[in-house]
């Protein structure tokens, strides 16, 4: 099982997600620099959290246009599983792999705390390890996590079961409490909360370990 983590300038959760993937797969992920154009062959790709390119212009905007991202987009369109966490979710929206955009939190505060999420769809490769309607606790740490899309898009996403996770107590103003979203072919997930930060009791929780275990089993 080979995995790869894309590293942008000012990514800061790249090592965390690498540890989570190594824990789930037993193998160290390839760390791929944003300026590269060749993506190593892997079974699973991760875009980490952080503040790529300083969040200049819009969160994720510049990273979405970085050299490596064209290769990631091509892989995703060919069906490779891709996850974007936090800044990675913002990058996925900016590439157009996921619809909508992540805007400044409605309350203007940077929100940094553990939040409860409800698993809305457990049929995806990313959430198969959970019961539908199960609750998980993942930390959030973001300033721009306020998910926005027009009503027509939101209706379509909900109708197609593409909301993977919803906030129980919305921390950022996201439309319809959306915390995580799947693309139309089911191989791309973007989510603001950080499962990679709760992969051991030492880190305050293990819901993230269950998340990575489930998704790695699903894509193996």
């Amino acid at each position: 099982m080979k995995t790869a983590v894309i590293v942008f300038p000012a990514s800061n959760c790249d090592r965390d997600i690498a540890v989570a993937l190594e824990q789930a797969t037993g193998a160290k992920p390839a760390m791929v620099w944003h300026g590269d154009t060749d993506l190593p062959d892997a079974d699973f790709y991760a875009l980490p959290g952080g503040f790529s390119y300083g969040d200049y212009l819009r969160a994720g905007a510049m990273a979405a246009k970085s050299p490596i991202m064209q290769a990631v987009i091509d892989k995703a369109k060919a069906g490779a599983p891709v996850i974007g966490v936090c800044n990675g979710f913002q990058v996925l929206c900016e590439t157009g792999l996921l619809p909508g955009a992540l805007m400044r939190n409605a309350g203007l505060d940077f929100v940094c705390r553990t939040v409860a999420l409800r698993v809305e769809n457990n049929q995806s490769i990313f959430t198969r390890g959970f019961e539908k309607g199960a609750y998980v606790n993942f930390p959030v740490a973001h300033h721009d996590g306020n998910y926005y899309a027009d009503d027509e898009t939101l209706d379509r996403l909900e109708g197609e079961g593409r909301v993977a996770f919803r906030y129980v107590d919305n921390p950022n103003g996201s439309a319809r409490d959306i915390a995580g979203l799947i693309n139309d072919s089911g191989n791309v997930l973007g989510m603001m909360p950080h499962p990679e930060r709760v992969i051991s009791p030492l880190l305050g929780g293990t819901d993230g370990a269950a998340f990575f275990k489930g998704l790695i089993e699903a894509v193996s």
Binding site: G100, N105, A106, G107
Partner: protein
């Protein structure tokens, strides 16, 4: 030529920063300021000497990077 690109949030998109500015203005005693919206301005020099060509290039930049059509509008001014 120079390009001045103004990027604004679309109508109906919540602008918490604009709302905070509006509230701060009211706190300073500026009465009657409503509907405050925050945007951004990007200025640049362009090698093009023809206005239409400069505008076309700026338009392409807006579509590919400078604005996000999901929640933003843009307006381009080409200046001599």
């Amino acid at each position: 030529m120079r390009a001045k690109i103004t990027i604004t949030l679309k109508n109906g998109v919540l602008d918490p920063q604009g709302a905070a500015i509006e509230s701060a203005l009211a706190g300073l005693g500026f009465e009657g300021a409503e509907g405050v919206r925050q945007g951004k301005v990007i200025e640049m020099k362009l090698a093009e000497t023809d206005e239409a060509a400069a505008r076309a290039k700026a338009e392409d930049m807006c579509k590919k990077l400078l604005a996000n059509p999901v929640m933003e509008n843009y307006a381009i001014e080409i200046l001599a």
